[in-house]
Amino acid sequence: MSQTAKPQVSFYHPLRHVDSAHFIDVYMKHGGYARLNQPQLIQQLLTSKFLNRNGISLSSYWSRMALPPTKPRSVLVNMASTEPGMFAMRRMIQRNPHGLIEGLLLAAKATGADQGFLVSPIEDSLLAQTIERALGESHREGLWGDTARWSFDIQHIRLPKSLLYDQDSFLLASLSGQRPGYPHRKEFLCAQPVHIHRAEELYALVAMASERGDIFMSKGTVNSPGVYLITIGGEIAKTTTVEVPGGTTIAEIMAASGHDFSMKDGWLRWGGVLGHWYRPDEIEAQPFEISHQDSFCLRTFQYPLLEWYSDESAAAAKRAMSYFAGDQSCGACLACSRSTTGLSKWSQSEKQVFSSLAKCSFFARACEASEGPAW
């Protein structure tokens, strides 16, 4: 009699196979929120070498503002900077909303934050309802707010969806009522310094704080320790999300998608809609390392999305990029205001001229994303 294969346990969604784990009673029954008050665990997170979206270790990111511990600060989760192809995080939050809140509470404890902000897109009412429900449940359990034993409050703010919010200064400008394109000059919100995270970083904190945290951090390499979430998409049959230790080669990551295709043809795009194009055989043997000096480091407006396209569909993806870039550009400078019509027609020298006029990195990313396959 053959044994039933045990489902592989996920680091980012360990309760994936548990029914109703999106309710707090089931979540807590399976160990959720259990390790919030362990000082040695919090110290461990504070010195973590896990890399955030900018390829900087969390310990470096959190310590970049040298403030006395008595000064107030906040933590913000940016879910309003949505990007085509990154449906995976939306699904994760709908299925595991308490993982997100637990990650926020862990980040708050590690950094001594007094205030937390969850910023979600206005258009996504289903996501907002899920977040509100989870906030209500966790508040009633006394995990934060006026019913808790520590001083930490959470606000849920909804903003119109915009890729530009990936640039922290634009996000903070919008939260202060300014139109994106007139950026703040300081990383402050409510007159407090603020740490800004993406949702997947908070799920990683929960993984590090879990009983399998040591296993989580033992994977990967010295430059990219831990396990990272990558969404694999494009023209493959089944778009999927995989958990990848740092140092895994690109060919192995694509094999994990389950899609049967040859790495000898087509194109790979890393970074999402404003990502960089490669021929598969150029990078299939390269290890996935996202620290800031490595080739797969994610820059502003880029996301952990690896896509494969045939030559024909790569042209369609480039047209999608051009359309998206034109819609999302803020128009505050000449470069962005012309970006819709120019990308498919401009010469390299014209792009360089406009690049010198750009007020942010958005236009530079769009120009880089227009290289590679033919239009």
Partner: protein, 131 residues
């Protein structure tokens, strides 16, 4: 936290509610209630207005994200527009491109009125092309 930030967040909340309930937003009343600059609020609402135009039940938005385009939405866009142009004007529907609808794992997808149509349900396309 500053009063102006709190006021702005209250306004964002009311704006979100008005989008969901399809009720018109009373900008002047909100500005007075929360002491907001009406020019700033109007500029903000106008900036995002095109992103929130209501679809009638038969109107279509075709996702023009990378994955949906790669999996055939450009061809679907052409088919729909060709079929629509062949109708008498009174029975033509509105067909618009859309940014990513966040259903990439079920690409290609589109939005018919308030319903998302994905690769799991291709009958909707045949129905529209047939009429």
């Amino acid at each position: 936290m500053s009063q102006s930030e709190v006021a702005w967040w209250h306004f964002l909340s009311e704006w979100a509610d008005s989008l969901q309930s399809k009720q018109p937003l009373k900008i002047d009343e909100l500005c007075e209630k929360y002491s907001l600059d009406s020019n700033q609020v109007k500029e903000f609402v106008d900036y995002f207005e095109e992103d929130h135009i209501d679809l009638r039940p038969n109107d279509l938005e075709v996702c023009m994200g990378s994955t949906c385009r790669a999996k055939g939405n450009e061809a679907i866009w052409d088919q729909l527009n060709k079929a629509n142009n062949g109708r008498v004007p009174e029975s033509q529907i509105v067909i618009r491109p859309s940014l990513c609808l966040s259903e990439c794992d079920r690409a290609p997808c589109s939005k018919e009125g308030s319903k998302i149509r994905t690769n799991e349900d291709q009958n909707w396309l045949n129905r529209i092309l047939r009429v």
